[in-house]
């Protein structure tokens, strides 16, 4: 097992830059999520780590060794493809043993290792079946078997659950995470599903348009987003953005929106211009006492909570409140914000302003 470090990795396809100046570090044994919308360069990044694409510039370290320009066959990593890529002309046993055969391992040892991998994944009964007739989940297990059978330096998985039914996906996600916890293998997992990333990952890197927007623990990324993109992409419903204009000095603890003072974590940098007051729906409470007002335009019942959509002077706001709270469409009500959790953004660049809340996180983002 090994740690993986990317330094300023860039990939151009002709004139098009798929990945630009990506840097992040995956600790040994970590379950690391590469998250971002479709087309943002996740697969390209993963393929560069695997050696299936060579970076245009930058360095990739696996276990301390710079491998950026080495071919895939020399990197000793395992890759689980989105469509699994099981060799169709081989049965399950051959598929799993194939990476061992390339190392010239003696037959007896190969059989032993295949049997062990099959036992871990619960596919002993399938070993002599052709791969053609397997269900999606079993294909997935065979693909994992092929990955774990030879103790690689790390596992790279490109949307490994993407090809499965929604219902089965959750089950498989748990199985995957359990497998990782048992084996302690460094894993980089690509997904465009923020929920999956939050649930499964030790750390997350969020990418957009080939740029790493933020990297950190799921909690940090959720609570202390470094950019408006991250704040918007993660969480459902996503963070509310209230636009306003103002001038703040370096230690401000409140901002003024539509003549009302709203609390913010103490700022660590001065700012003047167009800003965004970012607050998560669950950090808004509705009460008649609050001065900042909004009109309820919709409610959505979710069981224990409900999502209330309100129209305010600074834009639409969604609040997540207990479902027994009365919320009548058309009613005007006050909004109270939990100031400690708020992030202010520069509306021009989308960058989060430094504050007591996020200063520790932003420094390495």
């Amino acid at each position: 097992m090994a740690e993986i470090v990317l330094k300023n990795v860039r990939k151009d396809f002709g004139d098009f830059t798929a990945v630009q100046a990506s840097s992040f570090k995956v600790e040994d044994g970590e379950f690391f999520m590469l998250l971002g919308p479709s087309g943002c360069g996740k697969t390209t990044t993963l393929r560069m780590i695997a050696g299936l694409e060579l970076p245009t510039s930058g360095e990739i370290y696996i276990g301390g060794e710079e491998v950026g320009q080495k071919p895939a066959s020399q990197r000793d990593i395992a890759f689980v493809f989105q469509m699994f890529a099981l060799y169709p002309h081989m049965n399950v046993r051959k598929n799993i043993s194939y990476p061992l055969v390339s190392q010239g391992m003696p037959k007896a040892q190969v059989n032993e290792k295949v049997a062990e991998a099959a036992r871990i994944l619960g596919i002993e009964k399938l070993l002599d079946r052709p791969v053609g007739g397997l269900s999606g989940g079993d294909r997935q297990r065979v693909a994992l078997g092929r990955a774990i059978v030879r103790d690689p330096k790390c596992f790279l998985m490109d949307e490994p659950l993407g090809a499965l039914d929604a219902e089965f996906r959750e089950h498989m996600a748990e199985e995957l995470r359990a497998l990782h916890d048992r084996m302690g293998a460094t894993t980089i997992y690509v997904t465009h599903d923020q929920l999956e990333a939050m649930q499964m990952g030790d750390k997350i890197v969020v990418m957009n348009h080939g740029v790493v927007e933020q990297f950190g623990t799921p909690q940090d990324i959720y609570d202390k987003p470094a950019t408006m993109f991250v704040a918007d992409f993660i969480g459902s419903p996503s963070m509310n953005f209230l636009k306003f204009h103002g001038k703040l000095d370096a230690a401000a603890t409140s901002v003024e929106l539509h003549h009302q003072k709203l609390p913010v974590p103490a700022l660590r940098e001065p700012f003047e211009g167009d800003m965004v007051y970012g607050v998560r729906p669950e950090h808004i409470t509705l009460s008649d006492k609050a001065k900042y007002r909004g009109e309820i335009v919709a409610t959505e019942y979710l069981g224990t909570t409900q999502i209330v959509t309100l129209q305010t002077h600074n834009g639409d706001v969604k609040a997540r409140v207990a479902s027994d709270q009365k919320a009548q469409v058309g009613e005007t009500i006050g909004l109270a914000f939990n100031g400690k959790t708020v992030t202010l953004f520069d509306n021009q660049t989308g960058r989060a302003l430094r504050s007591v809340l996020n200063e520790g996180v932003l420094s390495h983002g």
């Binding site: 695997a50 050696g51 299936l52 071919p71 895939a72 066959s73 990197r75 000793d76 990593i77 395992a78 890759f79 493809f81 469509m83 890529a85 060799y87 169709p88 002309h89 194939y98 990476p99 390339s102 190392q103 053609g132 092929r146």
Partner: protein
């Protein structure tokens, strides 16, 4: 089955289709069966009118095909009784065997040139198709079009330049020359067909093999080739059928050592009267290799002939 199904043909439809297919098969097979039968007829039976459907089978045609014979005096014949069954057949006509005919040789030429050029076309075609399919090649589309364009006029249109070229290069009437020629003609077909098949094979399989520790070449031989087997078989059959049946160039460029069966078989007719059973025997044997080859690869061919359209 009860109930009406949109996709499943009704039993009447199946019946009509069956009759049509069998009827068509009989009509197309008729000449072949006639050739097969004629090969086993005596000379007299072969030209009998009305034609004979039942007859006393004889191997005379085959013996005539493989031997040259001379007429001998009855005294000589009596002094030299036949030793083998084929000598006996000849003996009964008042002839003796003077030696083997050229047919065996010409047939072997066909085998060498047909299979040799097929192997070469498919081998080179597979490598080229793989390169075109997987690598970024400058002017790829133009090159592919150029390769195809070599098939845009009938090959025989360039017969005279090729004839002169072969004469100057010393390739006339050689196996090498004919193999090169048929390979050149077949190569465009083979590159295009195989590129289609290889395009269909997802790259992930090779990439998986690379990650499993194999070199690019190993990934090609162990993962791509087995999956392209269908396409390779189909392509090989097309190439063989062309090379095997090719007549015009064979007439033009071969006359002796490298002459193939197609230009040779008609010359049998001229050897001492019209020996139809021998011609039919030659035609029958000539048909066999392509038939056997096709039947051997049939399993692949049926899947391959759809050009990947129904691969799952």
């Amino acid at each position: 089955m009860s109930g009406y199904s949109v996709t499943e043909p009704s039993s009447t439809q199946k019946w009509v289709a069956g009759v049509l297919v069998i009827g068509y098969a009989l009509i197309t097979l008729m000449p072949l069966l006639w050739i097969l039968a004629t090969g086993f007829k005596s000379s007299a039976d072969s030209i009998a009118y009305p034609p004979k459907v039942t007859f006393q089978p004889t191997l005379e045609g085959y013996v005539n095909l493989f031997t040259t014979q001379t007429r001998q005096t009855p005294e000589y014949l009596d002094a030299h009784p036949p030793q083998t069954w084929y000598e006996e057949i000849v003996h009964d006509k008042g002839m003796v065997i003077a030696g083997p005919s050229r047919f065996g040789e010409r047939f072997m030429n066909s085998v060498i040139i047909g299979f040799g050029s097929t192997f070469l076309s498919v081998f080179l075609g597979t490598l080229a198709a793989y390169a075109f399919s997987r690598y970024r090649i400058p002017l790829k589309d133009d090159l592919l079009f150029f390769i195809l364009s070599t098939r845009m006029m009938p090959p025989i249109a360039v017969a005279i330049p090729i004839f002169l070229m072969f004469r100057n290069l010393g390739l006339s009437d050689t196996h090498t020359g004919m193999i090169l020629l048929y390979t050149a003609v077949n190569l465009s077909l083979s590159v295009w067909l195989l590129k289609g098949f290889i395009d269909e094979i997802p790259r992930e399989y090779e990439e998986a093999a690379l990650i499993d520790g194999y070199t690019r070449f190993q990934a090609f031989t162990k993962v791509v080739l087995p999956q392209a087997a269908t396409g390779i078989a189909a392509t090989a059959i097309f190439c063989l059928i062309f090379a095997w049946n090719e007549y015009a160039f064979a007439v033009l460029l071969t006359s002796g050592t490298a002459q193939t069966a197609p230009p040779f078989i008609p010359t049998i007719i001229g050897n001492g009267g019209q020996d139809w059973p021998a011609v039919a025997a030659g035609a029958t044997l000539f048909l066999l290799p392509v038939m056997v080859f096709t039947i051997l690869l049939r399993k692949h061919l049926l899947r391959g002939i759809t050009f990947g359209a129904v691969r799952k």
